[in-house]
């Protein structure tokens, strides 16, 4: 069942590459991604909320001499992220409908690459074998690399190279840590199986080094300050729908790895290094927010806002409280939806004006009210407006963090104010103001564009009103994870004061 979730998009990629004609390829790709979405719903209904952390596990020996097996398992955390991927993929495929038609680049390859990427990302979310996770984690760089490098903007070569080198370097460090971890398992029965490795009792020093190897890779992927610099370039140069997919979905593998691998595998090191990571996360929140305010390029604004939001996610994870960690996981989904919406709507705007600069827009509210409404709603989700799911998640993270790191939580709250600033500045400069000659004839959002973005808004609002649907399975899973780490929530600060 879980294997089918990986194989379905992979099969779709092959079919997309084989069918004749660009239009048929597009339709095949969309069909494959919708089938994956349907299968995800079926899988989701089978998750038993009271059951063990990993359910519906599947295991097939893959490379016996290495101890590698194709083993997948579904937890509440992975379900949330698989669902995000399954929802985002058809949307992204729809959003890029006209994106590649110009320039004589292969449309089929474009669609096939996205589906390949989806298969690898879903595989990484489901993997319960550390080497399998690593293989998918690394392999997914290649399709993403081509998506940026072949289909991107003017500086795509530089952006693609920077993206690949950063992530490859992180990946190599992680490889060393994966090997080191593997050698911790008892000789004769060496294994990469997550469950067996979690059960090991690794001494603190070794844990520290292995933690470092994994965390650097995930911090680059996430991305966390100070190893974030590839994201603004990659997201700006990538086609808008790929920027949406990259920072909305693919980068979540990094934060997912922190929750699903780092925490349970290295409990001691996690607790030792948590203050350091929390500090970096707070810096990311503020730094990303401040830089977003200073940008003049729409895609760069969204990219820096993502860095700020990734800071919030990492903050919540390493607060090591049930609210913080669950909130972070929920935020991964909410942020995925919100960033995807922002990048896709920005893509529509850029396609109309042929420019990414704020200065080239202005007054688009009048000629294009629907488009402007979409940008406003996407923007509000970015600044965590109450009623939207981003608000619920950000709130949980901050509350969860506050009970352990008051100062960090207080500083991170400033991030929300910064978000209000850069989002509203962007909206104001592009949509309000006098109608300029360049923008007065801007066509409004059309059928396909509305249909593509609508599901994102429905989900953002739906999960904002009824977060429990997704938050409950996440909460069950994160509590079990925190038990493995061996931390319990601190006493509420003020309750202690009153006694």
């Amino acid at each position: 069942m879980l294997t089918a979730l990986v194989l379905l998009p992979a099969l779709g990629a092959v079919l997309t590459a084989l069918v004749p004609g660009a239009r048929a390829a597009k339709l095949t790709a969309i069909a494959a991604s919708l089938a994956t979405l349907a299968l995800t719903v079926v899988v989701a209904l089978q998750l038993d909320s009271g059951g063990p952390l990993y359910q519906m596990s599947e295991q097939v020996t893959w490379i016996a001499p290495l101890g590698l097996s194709w083993s997948l398992g579904l937890s509440g955390i992975s379900l949330a992220l698989v669902a995000l991927t399954a929802v985002a993929t058809p949307i992204v495929l729809g959003a890029m409908w006209n994106e590649v038609d110009a320039g004589g680049r292969s449309v089929k390859a474009y669609y096939a690459l996205v589906l390949t990427l989806q298969a690898m990302v879903i595989g990484a979310f489901l993997a319960t074998d550390v080497l399998l996770f690593y293989i998918l984690f690394e392999a997914m760089l290649i399709p993403m690399y081509f998506l940026i490098g072949v289909y991107g903007g003017d500086k795509r070569q530089y952006a693609a190279m920077k993206f690949l080198l950063y992530n490859l370097l992180g990946g190599l460090l992680m490889l060393a840590a994966v090997i080191g971890l593997y050698l911790q398992s008892p000789a004769g029965e060496r294994t990469f199986a997550l469950a067996d490795l979690v059960a090991l009792d690794i001494d603190s020093t070794t844990q520290g080094w292995l933690f470092l190897g994994f965390m650097v890779a995930f911090a680059i992927k996430a991305p966390l300050w100070p190893v974030h610099t590839w994201l603004p370039d990659a997201a700006t140069e990538a086609p808008p729908s790929q920027a949406a997919y990259l920072s909305g979905v693919v980068d979540k593998v990094g934060t997912f790895g922190m929750v699903a691998l780092v925490l349970p595998l290295f409990p001691d090191a996690t607790q030792t290094f948590a203050p350091v990571v929390v500090t970096l996360a707070v810096i990311s929140v503020l730094y990303g927010g401040l830089l977003a305010i200073g940008q003049t390029d729409i895609k760069r604004i969204i990219a820096y806002s993502s860095i700020s939001h990734f800071g919030v996610i990492v903050l919540g994870i390493f607060a090591l409280t049930s609210q913080g960690t669950a909130g972070s996981t929920f935020y991964m989904v909410s942020h995925g939806l919100s960033t995807a919406a922002l990048f896709i709507v920005a893509g529509f705007m850029i396609a109309r004006r042929g420019s990414r600069q704020l200065a080239d827009f202005g007054g688009m509210q009048k000629p294009a009210p629907i488009l402007s409404g979409m940008l406003l709603l996407a923007g509000l989700s970015g600044l965590a407006m109450p009623g939207l799911s981003t608000f619920v998640s950000e709130f949980l993270v901050l509350v969860g963090t506050f009970s352990r790191y008051q100062v960090a939580a207080a500083l991170a709250t400033i991030g929300i104010i910064l978000a209000a600033l850069y989002i509203l500045i962007m909206y104001q400069r592009t949509m309000t103001g006098p109608v300029t000659p360049q923008t007065e004839n801007t066509p409004d959002a059309r059928g396909r564009e509305v249909v593509v973005v609508a599901p994102l808004f429905v989900l953002l609002i739906g999960l904002g009103v009824a977060p429990a649907v997704m938050l409950d399975p996440i909460d069950t899973a994160t509590r079990q994870t925190l038990e493995q780490v061996g931390v319990s929530d601190p006493e509420p600060v003020f309750a202690r004061g009153e006694e």
């Binding site: 893959w62 490379i63 016996a64 001499p65 290495l66 004589g104 292969s106 690593y134 293989i135 998918l136 690394e138 392999a139 760089l141 290649i142 690399y145 081509f146 490098g149 072949v150 795509r156 070569q157 693609a160 190279m161 690949l164 080198l165 490859l168 370097l169 190599l172 460090l173 490889l175 060393a176 090997i179 080191g180 593997y182 050698l183």
Partner: protein, 515 residues
């Protein structure tokens, strides 16, 4: 008065060395075909003989891996797992290369080799011979002789046999290097340079063997080991001998600081020959190096681990860094081959059977991708023959997506990206070294891998993300041989990356040297 010793006649076990017998026999046959067969048929006959012999050697070696090891010819050769695995790999690489030799469609004036190696480049005679479409077929015989030498090299268990094998494998390679059809001067220079430096390295090896003989009283590896264990104190003669043996062998592996010949020779030699040299010579020399050090000099393990540790680190870093600056695709692959020599040494430093198995797998994975990569190089051509300057490769992905994709596959395998054979090779080598406590060297290797990834990926950027230059070359339509070789190499590279299980098991079965 001379005291007569009893001479024990060596037991001749032909079956044990069947791959060698078949390969060298076919080599002799190929020479006879050159002399007596009518010219138009020579190529077909020679290619068939070579393919048949090499395929026999390949299959025989693989089937014998699980059999008991054999010590034959009075201890001159030891047919054990690593030797057989290496023989199989060498036979496979030679087989693939022979497929490339048969190419006659790419070059408008004939095959990839000169019509007459001894004629002055650019002379009237050469022009006439080219016009008459004269084609020589001695490359087949020479390749078979070289392969036969390599097959002896990897199983020889005394230093004298090893030296003879070294010469048997080297001399044909010197000749092969200078037989390119285009850029004759460069090719002749390559052959000359390889010969002079190679002869120098052989002399080192021979002197090293003499010193080790002086220190231990034997040339047989087992007896040398016994001699070392019974010695008292530090023996300078022995250490110098060890160092000189290492020089001879590291030269063939192209490890730093004995790598100077590699870029020039790889660039000048005919491309199909470059592929063969890069893959097969490295395999032969690596296995011979392991045999000499593990079996013969096992008692000096502390000394040579330090030596090889340093050489491995320097080789990886220097190879990767210098590859960054290359503008010629063959020279870039040469530096990449140097870097890979370093990665292989990481596995050798592990000095246990896990390391040996990992190195054997790595050799196979690297060799297949190397032959494949050089095969793709033969396709990209302009008016002057192969267009090896990287600028000519710009935008190749737009014009010939398939060729560019296959070349990218080989590059990704070299870079060690998952789902290619190179990843499994790196993973096994690094974990063996890590397990042997060499984690510092593994970290160096990771840094080098990151640098190396940069220049492999740079070529992909050039092919796919750049716009085609006006002067850039076109991709020729290859004949059956080249197409088959590229297809097979690409398929094996993916196969060894996705389902490496059986081969890994074979390598691990073959990982014990017999003392």
């Amino acid at each position: 008065m001379v005291v007569m010793q009893d001479i024990t006649t060596p037991t001749v076990d032909v079956l044990a060395i069947l791959p060698i017998v078949v390969t060298l026999g076919a080599a002799v046959l190929a020479v006879l075909v050159d002399a007596f067969a009518p010219a138009p048929r020579r190529m077909l006959v020679n290619a068939s003989i070579s393919a048949l012999a090499l395929a026999t050697a390949l299959v025989w070696s693989i089937t014998r891996i699980s059999a008991d090891p054999v010590v034959a010819f009075n201890g001159a050769v030891t047919i054990d797992g690593p030797g057989l695995f290496a023989q199989a790999a060498i036979a496979l690489f030679a087989l693939l290369s022979v497929g490339l030799y048969t190419e006659r469609r790419l070059d408008p004036s004939g095959d990839p080799f000169t019509p007459a190696g001894s004629v002055m480049p650019g002379s009237e005679t050469e022009r006439v011979l080219t016009l008459k479409r004269v084609q020589q077929t001695e490359v087949y015989g020479l390749t078979l002789f070289a392969s036969g030498g390599m097959m002896v090299f990897v199983v020889s268990s005394d230093l004298l046999t090893m030296f003879v094998a070294l010469e048997v494998l080297s001399l044909p390679l010197y000749l092969l290097s200078s037989l390119a059809r285009r850029r004759r001067l460069l090719s002749q220079e390559a052959g000359m340079k390889y010969f002079l430096l190679g002869a120098f390295a052989s002399a080192f090896f021979l002197y090293g063997a003499a010193l080790v003989y002086g220190a231990t009283g034997s040339l047989n590896l087992g007896a040398i080991d016994a001699g070392i264990s019974s010695r008292v104190g530090v023996d300078t003669m022995l250490l110098v001998g060890m160092g000189m043996l290492a020089v001879g062998l590291l030269f063939k592996i192209s490890a730093v600081p004995f790598q100077f010949w590699t870029p020039d020779v790889y660039q000048g030699a005919p491309t199909p020959v470059t592929g063969f040299m890069a893959a097969a010579t490295k395999t032969a020399a690596v296995v011979a190096l392991m045999r000499v050090f593990y079996v013969g000099l096992g008692g000096l393990v502390e000394d040579w681990t330090v030596l090889l540790w340093v050489i491995a680190a320097v080789t990886m870093l220097l190879g990767s860094v210098l590859a960054l600056t290359q503008t010629d695709v063959k020279r870039m692959l040469a530096y990449s081959s140097i870097a890979h020599a370093g990665f292989l040494l990481v596995g050798i430093v592990a000095a246990d059977s896990q390391g040996t198995g990992a190195v054997l797998f790595y050799l196979l994975a690297y060799g297949i991708a190397t032959v494949g990569a050089f095969a793709v190089v033969t396709l990209v051509r302009d008016a002057g023959g192969e267009a090896t300057h990287l600028s000519a490769w710009a935008g190749l992905g737009r014009r010939s997506p398939l060729t560019a994709s296959v070349f990218s596959l080989f590059l990704l395998s070299f870079a060690g990206i998952p789902l290619t054979s190179g990843f499994i090779g790196k993973l096994t080598v690094f974990s063996a070294a890590f397990d042997a406590g060499q984690w510092a060297l593994v970290l160096v290797a990771l840094v080098a891998s990151a640098i190396a990834a940069f220049f492999y990926v740079r070529v992909i950027v050039l092919m796919f993300f750049s716009d085609p230059a006006d002067s850039s070359a076109s991709v020729g339509v290859p004949g059956t041989g080249t197409t088959a070789v590229i297809t097979a190499s690409a398929a094996l590279t993916v196969l060894l990356g996705v389902v490496p299980g059986p081969v890994l098991e074979l390598a691990s079965l073959a990982s014990e040297f017999v003392r």
